[in-house]
């Protein structure tokens, strides 16, 4: 029996239709899309069709989509590219303390080069206050970057309100939407976002490909130079099979989103309620309702999240103790700490992220498997039962 996969925030399995769409571009449609001959044009067709599908998913125009190597590059491109392009106008950017490291490390890079960066705090549910964005804006602010949904706790940020504040002040607004594109409806027009990052493998597409939405008329500096690809916005020969796969994933997501949201929400709520009922001192992290439909996250008292993960792995369930990009580090999650959760408590974090292929039966199996694992780990843990709170945050 295969493992039950509950780690869709880390990556999602490519859909069979995606793989099928990609194969011709690894076989007979292998041309370089920049070539003027028919072999090149056949590859270019795949790239441009994909661009239309990705644009349709976001309510954007195809020309506003720049393909990248993934979400990280899109985030780097947005922050560094916008800051470089606008440094004559101002040298201050605003972001939040709970961003993915692709944003935070770009912000730190800019800080080392003399840019000022404001890191906005979040509340206990991981929400950025739009008024705090407004108050942080100065005459030299050129960019605000706030993620659409947090990858660790699933909280959905009020990006519409933040976008509107940025527009009011004539400041660019970037949102890292890697966790939301294909999973919740996004309309770049209504959100008033100027730059938006997405990743192929988070929406049942391939790895190694993503995109940055760049609103028409917005100019940002290129990070990759040496060719005129992507209308001069990102040099390098296109990852044609990957782009085609992303396009197909976007097309499928648009058609299936309504059903997927309903399905994921039902499973997520059953899982959250089940864990809180069965495990003493299990607190839900993130916003209870304003969260990704597929994301359940907890802090469990008296255990190490990594031990829980490994025990669940042995029991046939793939989950995470936080972000896949920061796993392996001993430091507690920067997201949980920013939400005011103390380090000893943050170490007991568990993230369960559901997908289109999961079933209620799998959730029920998980809810049966978890309590004995927690009981065993608590009995063995030096953190011990003494740190288990009764009537903890629910």
């Amino acid at each position: 029996m295969g493992q039950v996969y509950f780690d869709h925030a880390a990556t999602t399995p490519p859909r069979p239709e995606v793989v099928e769409a990609m194969l011709p571009y690894l076989e007979d449609r292998w041309g370089n899309p920049s070539s003027l001959h028919a072999t090149g044009v056949r590859a270019l067709e795949g790239v441009e069709r994909a661009r239309e599908h990705v644009a349709a998913l976001l309510g954007a125009q195809p020309e506003e989509i720049v393909f990248t190597s993934g979400g990280t590059e899109a985030d780097n491109h947005a922050l560094i590219g916008a800051s470089l392009a606008l440094e004559q106008k101002g040298r201050h950017i605003i972001t939040s303390t709970v961003e993915h490291h692709a944003v935070l490390d770009s912000a730190k890079f800019l800080e080392r080069r003399g840019q000022a960066v404001t890191y906005l705090p979040v509340d206990r549910e991981g929400l950025v206050d739009p008024d705090a964005v407004r108050q942080a804006i100065t005459d030299s602010t050129v960019l605000v970057s706030v993620m659409h949904a947090n990858n660790e706790v699933g909280t959905l940020q009020p990006v519409g309100e933040i976008g509107s504040i940025c527009r009011e002040h004539g400041i660019l607004f970037h949102s890292d939407a890697v966790q939301t594109v294909g999973h919740v409806p996004i309309d770049v027009g209504a959100t008033q976002v100027d730059l938006l990052s997405l990743s192929g493998h988070k929406l049942y597409g391939p790895k190694g490909v993503g995109a940055l939405y760049v609103r028409r008329g917005v100019r940002i500096a290129s990070l990759l130079r040496g060719g005129g690809q992507e209308l001069g916005r990102r040099a390098s020969t296109e990852n044609v099979p990957g782009i085609v796969g992303l396009g197909e994933a976007a097309r499928l997501a648009l058609g299936d989103m309504e059903w997927e949201i309903e399905h994921a929400t039902e499973l997520r709520d059953a899982l959250i309620n089940g864990v809180v009922e069965r495990i003493s001192d299990a607190a839900v992290t993130g916003h209870r309702t304003q969260r990704l439909p597929n994301s359940a996250s907890f802090c469990i008292g008296g255990v190490e999240g990594e031990s829980v993960l490994l025990s669940l792995d042995a029991a046939g369930f793939a989950v995470s103790s936080g972000s896949a990009c920061t796993s392996g580090t001993l430091e507690p999650s920067h997201v949980l700490l920013a939400m005011g959760i103390p380090p000893w408590r943050a170490r007991g974090s568990l993230r369960v992220t559901l997908g289109r292929g999961n079933t209620r039966r799998e959730v029920d199996g998980f809810l049966q498997a978890l309590p004995p694992i927690i009981a065993r780990l608590r009995s063995m843990s030096p953190m011990g039962a003494s740190q288990v709170r009764t009537g903890g945050l629910k």
Partner: protein, 80 residues
């Protein structure tokens, strides 16, 4: 003047798009249309106005009309 008074079913403005991107975008629209439908494509005069009709005919579509409009050209293509 439209040929036989027919109006295009779909119209796209591809000015500013280099070759062969302009043709690829026109082709993607043609693929969504039914045989016999008319696509109007606006392209920059010069190389695009030569290449797009040539590519369309190579793929079996009929270029019914090319109208110079200053620095742009309107092409009327019947989907094969």
């Amino acid at each position: 003047m439209r040929p036989m008074g027919r109006r295009p079913d779909v119209s796209i403005d591809l000015r500013g798009n280099p070759c062969p991107l302009n043709w690829v975008k026109a082709k993607l629209r043609l693929e969504e249309m039914r045989p016999g439908m008319l696509l109007e494509v606006i392209v920059d005069d010069g190389r695009p106005a030569e290449n797009v009709p040539r590519s369309a005919e190579l793929e079996g579509h009929k270029v019914l009309q090319a109208t110079a409009l200053g620095d742009r050209v309107s092409l009327l293509i019947e989907r094969a």
